[in-house]
Symmetry: C2
Subunit: 322 residues, 2 copies
């Protein structure tokens, strides 16, 4: 019988997406950074997102609890940012071994609530359950967000010729600690969503090598990438900027005639935060897209040449949005 | 250092509730069956709920995947029922060992989508991650619901003298399979929410012995229970009806002068489904409430005299709403 590791995550996602069509007031279902739900009368759409972190996969055993709590929330905020949304309420599920020190939970909430308070996010409720045996800790955060009706920025709005750009720096997220301490680009996402010519956006969580083809495919496009232009974090290689993953930066597709004004206005709006043009969308190539050469698949060992730093108990996984 | 097992779930919940106050458009935060969010303009409130099932805790290893998927969704629907709400969208998180047969995921969705379709629920998105090693399977379902603005039925609306009643039958949920195949009381919840004199409602998940004191405490009341009146599932004892847990029935508090009309109208509305008066709310007792004598605590072994049936890998846990 075929296992998840043998099937692979992308094949499973394609299969599941066919079983989970949008409809009714669900305007955007599985496949984008967030789901989009149309609400009657309020003039805005509801964004929905769920995301988990697993000890030994998304954080090392022994990571300080506040950094775990902060990361668990920051990941969903990054997805809301990629829609141009404003975060609302979150629901927190903790599956914990009974022998865990009770103080761990307080530390977890210290980190989560610190970030929540900075963005006006409220914890609306949650769930506690025991993990059998000694672990691992599993955390799930589900979030709501809001965006003006019809204004959510999707992955699928790109057009051939659009310029591709990324916020911030890429690569070396693990050794640098960025994967724990990253800044969800909420303000940047909203600012970008309001610019003319912004056609598509997503957050980079599995690595550009895996995420860029997803944006291009959702837009019905091919793409060209200029690796020499990639903005590298200290210690990152050009390959790592594509395959390390967990950058939590925004990838955007902008109409070429809108790019000069956007790029000119950016530095005053976000001083110190790079916005870098890295390529362009292209007409679709004939035939099926090639498999991603790097980046994370939830159920398969990470392929060379970008091995996961050996600090995790199990290097086989990353998350994936349905 | 004090562990979660030593602290106990109720003490942790009380502590966390103090850190997670409602406010802004969050009308009801942690502590009820669902959170309630006020939305501008739409005439309705949003309900939010998250809930998880863990292999070896909430279902046995080897349980057929469709029953796991059905249960994972049914649990959150039961909480929406307890608010008198209508379910909307759900987000599904699967944390799975990479060696799991891929067909398990399809079976899981067979069960989940079967129940979802019966109630107009749509899967809006989800998350896939690998569980390190060989397991356990962890599933989280986060759900939205809707209720007319200000009309959500809370736990805290009961008054001394209100009659207490339960839908359905109690006890022996595990051996009978009810804990997997139960029917979330969505129609009953909405019907009850619309009756005059319905003051408070909650779903019974941890056992009446644990849940009834929660409703009473939220209402600032004490209570009297008539054990001889408890409606027993086949094979259940009177003690099991209080402590077995996972009944997923509705517990309600009704003004005594409204009860006769409600009880008279019930059989025609829900033929074959018992609605049983089991006690009453009372003025609050002086001093702190006694600890629950039975029912489930997430982080402690289940106390005698209601041992968990020995079919689970780890009998130490149940879920708890924050």
């Amino acid at each position: 019988m075929q296992t998840l590791a043998e099937l692979g995550e992308d094949a499973l996602l394609r299969h599941l997406a066919g079983r989970l069509p949008p409809g009714g007031c669900l305007r955007v279902g599985p496949g984008d950074d967030c789901a989009v739900v149309g609400l009657p009368g309020g003039g805005f759409d509801l964004l929905l997102k769920t995301d988990c972190v697993v000890e030994g996969v998304h954080f090392e055993p022994g990571t300080a609890a506040p950094r775990v709590g902060r990361k668990a929330l920051a990941r969903v905020l990054s997805d809301i940012a990629a829609m141009g949304g404003e975060p609302g309420e979150v629901l927190v599920t903790l599956v914990l071994p009974p022998a865990l020190p009770a103080a761990w939970v307080d530390g977890f909430y210290d980190g989560l609530l610190g970030l929540a308070g900075a963005h006006g996010v409220r914890v609306a409720g949650g769930e506690l359950a025991a993990m059998p045996g000694t672990g691992p800790v599993v955390v799930n955060v589900a979030a709501t967000g809001r965006v003006a009706a019809g204004q959510a920025v999707l992955r699928g709005g790109g057009r051939p010729g659009d310029l591709l750009a990324v916020t911030g720096l890429l690569g070396n997220s693990f050794a640098s600690g960025w994967h724990l301490d990253f800044i969800p680009r909420l303000e940047a996402g909203r600012w970008l969503a309001g610019r003319p010519g912004l056609h598509a956006m997503m957050d980079l969580s599995d690595g550009l090598a895996r995420d860029l083809p997803r944006l291009a495919a959702a837009s019905g496009c091919g793409f060209t990438l200029e690796p020499a232009r990639l903005p590298l974090r200290a210690g990152a290689t050009r390959e790592g900027a594509q395959g390390d993953g967990e950058d939590y930066e925004l990838l955007l597709a902008v109409a070429p005639d809108a790019w000069p004004a956007l790029a000119a206005a950016w530095p005053a709006a976000f001083p110190g935060l790079p916005l870098t043009r890295i390529g362009a969308l292209a007409p679709p190539s004939p035939g099926p897209p090639p498999p991603a050469a790097a980046g994370w698949d939830a159920f398969q060992p990470h392929p060379p040449p970008m091995p996961r730093p050996g600090r995790f108990a199990d290097p086989t996984s990353q998350r994936q949005d349905l």
